[in-house]
Subunit: 138 residues, 2 copies
Amino acid sequence: MQEAVQDILKKNQLSITGSRVKILELFLEQQGALAHGDIERRTGEKFDRVTVYRTLQVFLNKGIIHSIPTSDNSVLYALCKDDCGEGHHHDNHVHFVCDACGTTMCLDDVTVPAIRLPKGFKFNQIQVVVNGRCKDCN
Amino acid sequence: MQEAVQDILKKNQLSITGSRVKILELFLEQQGALAHGDIERRTGEKFDRVTVYRTLQVFLNKGIIHSIPTSDNSVLYALCKDDCGEGHHHDNHVHFVCDACGTTMCLDDVTVPAIRLPKGFKFNQIQVVVNGRCKDCN
DNA sequence: TAAACAGATGCAACTTTGTTGCAAAATAAT
DNA sequence: ATTATTTTGCAACAAAGTTGCATCTGTTTA
């Protein structure tokens, strides 16, 4: 775990600091996505609010995490796969929100189907968010 | 236009007030989706911020408008089709965000494709947001 | 390993966004 | 026209997010 975290930070040319390590660990420990609030709570309020914001911003820019649009318009973040990097995300997978337990997760194996757009439209990225019941809540 | 607006309000048993009429007009005039901020600006600051919030909330509850999840996690609203009502939305269409002009719109004719979920998952609602270039920005 | 540098953090202050209670005003009903 | 019901605007507040700056920590180099 420690190694994985340091690896990711080094690979992205980020200095290894307490907040970055702790927040990355949270993402690695956790299957699902995390809201800003989750992170503040789970770090035991060890870090300043501003630091958490800035750390997430850095991770976003570097392509370590990506943000997930939700139907209730809260902001969620989740780890990216290996092939994401600065400037190019490849998170063309489906996001799933469980209505029962509230967990949001990436279904990495479910690829986004092709969508037939009207004439004149060109697509760049497709985001899919599915609501329902996850395998633990059925 | 005036009639259409009054029709919609009456059909939903809402009293006809200045702010409701004005805000509904904005949605009817406009193809795309509106952010809360857009509405405040476009009404010429005629109404209190709180009124705009409450009006949108009422429209949401009545199924007159629906909210759209965006990748930058801002809140957008768009008109529902006729078959939406209190408690039951039928907005299973694709939302499109133009990277060039920033407009967000509903592609009512593009239906959301079926998605094959992993074992144990059951879906309830599927939201699709496509980024790219709209027909006017190509 | 110590000094110097660059970058990250915490604090304070601030802006923006959204919410709540209540009195005044507007709408609908009689 | 009068009454009852909603809706509105105001004020105050809470939550979310941002910015500048001084201080501290991690990294680099000699």
